[in-house]
């Protein structure tokens, strides 16, 4: 790709970007959210048009103006949120993507072919299983197999590891290495420095739509890459531990049992959260974290157990009742639960307060003027961009959307803050900003429950750590006692044990 430029309104998303990838090479494309990584790759996959620049495949210039053309050229993109049809089998999904008009010979045969492709890269995959039944990492692999089956020669993976556990990430990256060894060109779009080290041979860093750094991965230190991504030196992070006593209890969860259809999602979970402390709850996806967030948000009923806030029973309250007790939840599933994409920044910021009968002006009517004033104040305080509070939230980058969500939660003056994956899909700059806010909330005396798949991040910020494995607590410790290894093992069920009572 040569001199590729793209403009969205007044935003120069890409500015004369140069990028090339050789056969059999794994290229890491790094950059903050909104740096233009995804836009660049969408152009490569024919999903987006470019304003300027040319694209060559095998030395031949190609127009590349449609996804069909990209597929025919062997360019295949695996999206961050996989584009698979849930109630079809793996094999059916593969066929869905093929451009043959003739129906394939038989289902059995396609399944066998798909499984063969999977085996070739050392993967076991039952092609007759429905996508619904697969775990997240299996879906990621199904996407890769689909691309291979369709004859891809250039494979683009957009943030493939954003919702995987450490072991799953390792697995997936091993698959990527295998695929590349077969001669495939792989572009790995990510903002995690650690994972590219092992697999990529070259790295390109984008910042504000421009190439900020490029070269062999070995030629860069992590610090140099991080600097290239965010444009300035990263101060070393050492979040001081909370000085607040663990004995004071704000939120108590006791013997929580939740069934999801026939499955026991939470199996007798108990913990306490103290004001001024952060309790980090970590676990691989599917081990009860999601259900725990939903119960604490009042969106899902607990089958057994109690939740107490400062001694008051809040177990069966809905979101409204929980807000009244000062329990505010961010689910981490932004598009679904946390923002209304088609509404403005101001409307999203005011959502909860209006629901709680706030912003009443003359005649009991909503005063949009005060909504807007508050929104402008919050947008400035949380550095939400663009600063126009009447812009629709869906036009914002993920990091800015999360800032909106965070600003709203903080403006509600919470007593308990439940944060589900607050930095999912965000870049380093945005992550740090969000965590600064979380630590600030902690220091102001908020009891924080922090759930994340990202172990390192959790270990860096939590005062106490708790691991969920198959719906139960498999490990708990204070931050000083927890190590990456012990917690990682507890997450995958290895040597599950209870450490010194922590809470």
């Amino acid at each position: 790709m040569r001199g590729v430029s793209k403009r969205f309104g007044d935003l120069q998303a890409l500015d004369r970007v140069e990028l090339e990838v050789a056969p059999g090479e794994v290229l890491a494309l790094l950059g903050e959210n909104g740096a233009g990584k995804t836009t660049l790759m969408r152009i490569a996959a024919g999903l987006e048009t470019r304003d300027a620049g040319s694209i060559e495949v095998d030395g031949r210039e190609v127009p590349l103006a449609s996804p069909h053309e990209a597929i025919e050229l062997g360019i295949s993109m695996v999206h961050q949120h996989f584009l698979l049809v849930g109630n079809l089998s793996v094999a059916e999904n593969v066929v869905l993507g093929s451009r043959t008009n003739v129906l394939p010979l038989s289902k059995r045969q396609v399944e066998r072919e798909v499984e063969e492709v999977a085996e070739r890269i050392g993967m076991r995959l039952d092609a007759s299983r429905r996508i619904d039944e697969l775990s997240i990492d299996e879906r990621a692999k199904a996407e890769i197999v689909k691309a291979l089956y369709l004859g891809a020669r250039i494979l683009i993976l957009d943030e493939p590891t954003s919702s995987l556990g450490p072991k799953q990430i390792e697995d997936l990256l091993a698959t990527v290495t295998t695929v590349a060894a077969e001669g495939m060109s792989v572009v790995l779009v990510t903002h995690r420095l650690a994972e590219i080290r092992d697999v990529s041979s070259r790295v390109v860093v984008l910042r504000h739509g421009k190439v900020a750094a490029a070269g062999a991965t070995d030629g860069f230190t992590d610090d140099a890459l991080a600097r290239a991504m965010i444009g300035h030196e990263l101060p070393p992070r050492a979040i001081p531990l909370s000085a607040a006593p663990r004995e004071a209890v704000r939120l108590r969860v006791a013997g929580l049992v939740v069934h999801d259809h026939d499955r026991v999602a939470l199996d007798g979970v108990s913990f306490d959260v103290s004001p001024g402390r952060i309790l980090g709850i970590v676990g691989v996806e599917g081990n009860g974290q999601t259900e725990l967030v939903e119960v604490l948000a009042g969106l899902r009923k607990a089958d057994e157990g109690r939740i107490l806030c400062d001694g008051a029973d809040v177990t069966h309250l809905g979101p409204d009742g929980l807000h009244e007790h000062g329990i505010v939840t961010i689910t981490g599933d932004r598009g679904r639960w946390d923002v209304i994409g088609t509404m403005s920044i101001a409307e999203n910021l005011a959502l909860h307060r209006i629901a709680r009968r706030g912003y009443r002006g003359r005649g009991g009517l909503i005063s949009w003027r005060s909504v807007q004033e508050d929104a402008q104040r919050l947008a400035a305080e949380f550095d939400i961009r663009p600063r126009r509070v009447d812009a629709r939230v869906e036009q914002l980058s993920g990091g800015n959307q999360q800032k909106v969500v965070m600003a709203r939660a903080m403006a509600l003056a919470p007593r308990v803050l439940v944060l589900g994956h607050p930095t999912r899909g965000l870049d380093i700059g945005a992550r740090r900003f969000i965590y600064d806010q979380i630590v600030r909330a902690r220091d102001e005396g908020v009891a924080v429950v922090l759930l994340s798949f990202d172990l390192e991040e959790l270990l860096e910020h939590s005062d106490d750590i708790l691991v969920l494995f198959r719906g139960a607590i498999s490990y708990q410790a204070s931050r000083q006692d927890a190590t990456l290894e012990t917690v990682g093992n507890a997450m995958t069920g290895i040597g599950a044990r209870r450490a010194a009572p922590a809470a």
């Binding site: 969205f8 679904r336 639960w337 209304i340 403005s344 409307e347 959502l351 126009r388 009447d390």
Partner: protein, 359 residues
């Protein structure tokens, strides 16, 4: 992700009605274009349709305009038709804002009319005319609201499909209207109910169908507009239509809002029915609903579910309806062309809305 809408931006402040900061949708020029393109597109398609029918499009258009706006009588006819169209537009627009497809405007209108007649005939002549008219109207509002709330409750309690329920309720309401027309309240001579005391009916200006009904309808549209923009419930209804889950998490009791949205929509349609009784016919007459309930859906869609835009939208459909009725005599085309025109307008407005980002 930014779109072409960002090319030019205008900041929208709080206007007289206190409308919230509307998400930016581009410059005035762009917005005008968005309105103009579907209009031009619809016009083109309609011209072709008329040509196929063997008539001159310009002649048809001219006759349509002269037949609806050419005389005082025609204009008053348009104003008369506008009132129930605005109200039935509200009956669709309010629930639609919450993604609840209320197809039941027709039925809600008829139960409103039936309730108005039943009250008008039973409360008696001793009551002052104005009071009786008010009672009839209130009965119609209540009946329409209740009728729609049935659909809301079925949706909320047993997750029934509101499209099917409201359609079924339309059939039932039609039967109820037939019953009062042929049953105890039958007038005996022509197929209609007895007429309510004349003191309870609205007079008319210019000796035509034009009376207070249109002002009531416009006032209701303004009130509903304020409700949707500036009350917690109205905001909640809109928010739940944009993102149900996020609205729940924000603390809105979404089910209650849904039932309320149906109730408010049904009340508007019921009011339309009651006004047809007290302001137009004085009785229930088969077919008096003139498909207003269904046309109201089209009116609401073209108005993009905005209560205030319903007023010009209803005016457009009223002009088509009134102007189209004389076409067979004046331009040699079947009045059915009015349905074609309405359909094309709705489709082109919807189509251009979907394609909006590309304009």
């Amino acid at each position: 992700m930014a779109t072409s809408e960002d090319l030019l931006t205008v900041t929208t402040g709080e206007d007289v009605l206190g409308v919230p900061p509307e998400p930016v949708r581009g410059s005035v020029a762009l917005r005008t274009l968005q309105l103009l393109l579907p209009a031009v597109g619809a016009f083109g398609v309609i011209c072709v349709a008329v040509l196929v029918l063997g008539a001159d499009p310009l002649l048809v258009l001219g006759k349509m305009i002269s037949g609806s706006l050419g005389s005082q009588y025609d204009v008053s006819e348009v104003l008369m038709v506008m009132a129930p169209l605005i109200l039935c537009g509200l009956a669709a627009a309010v629930p639609f804002s919450a993604r609840l497809w209320n197809i039941g405007g027709d039925g809600q209108l008829y139960v409103g009319a039936v309730a108005a007649v039943v009250v008008g005939l039973n409360v008696g002549k001793d009551v002052p005319g104005e009071l009786l008219a008010a009672l009839c109207v209130l009965a119609g509002i209540a009946a329409g609201a209740c009728w729609a709330i049935v659909a809301g409750l079925v949706k909320v309690l047993v997750a029934g499909n509101e499209v099917i329920v409201t359609l079924m309720l339309n059939l039932l309401a039609g039967l109820a209207a037939d019953y009062v027309v042929t049953g105890p309240y039958a007038q005996g001579v022509s197929p209609q109910t007895k007429t309510i005391p004349s003191g309870a009916t609205f007079g008319s200006f210019w000796q035509t169908g034009f009376n207070q009904a249109i002002f009531i309808a416009i006032a209701v549209a303004l009130a509903v507009g304020v409700f949707m923009q500036r009350t917690r419930a109205g905001f909640g209804i809109r928010a739940s239509g944009e993102n149900l889950d996020a609205s729940r998490l924000a603390g809105f009791a979404v089910h209650r809002l849904w039932v309320g949205a149906f109730g408010l929509g049904g009340a508007c349609a019921g009011l339309a029915g009651a006004l047809l009784v007290v302001a137009v016919y004085g009785a229930v007459i088969p077919g008096m609903g003139e498909q207003y309930g269904y046309t109201g859906i089209a009116v609401a869609l073209v108005a993009r579910l905005r209560p205030l835009l319903l007023i010009p939208s209803a005016a457009l459909f009223a002009v088509i309806q009134v102007g189209g009725s004389g076409l067979s005599a004046n331009a040699g085309v079947s009045p059915a062309i009015t349905y074609v025109i309405q359909g094309v307008i709705v489709i082109s407005f919807l189509a251009f809305r979907v394609l909006r980002v590309r304009i």
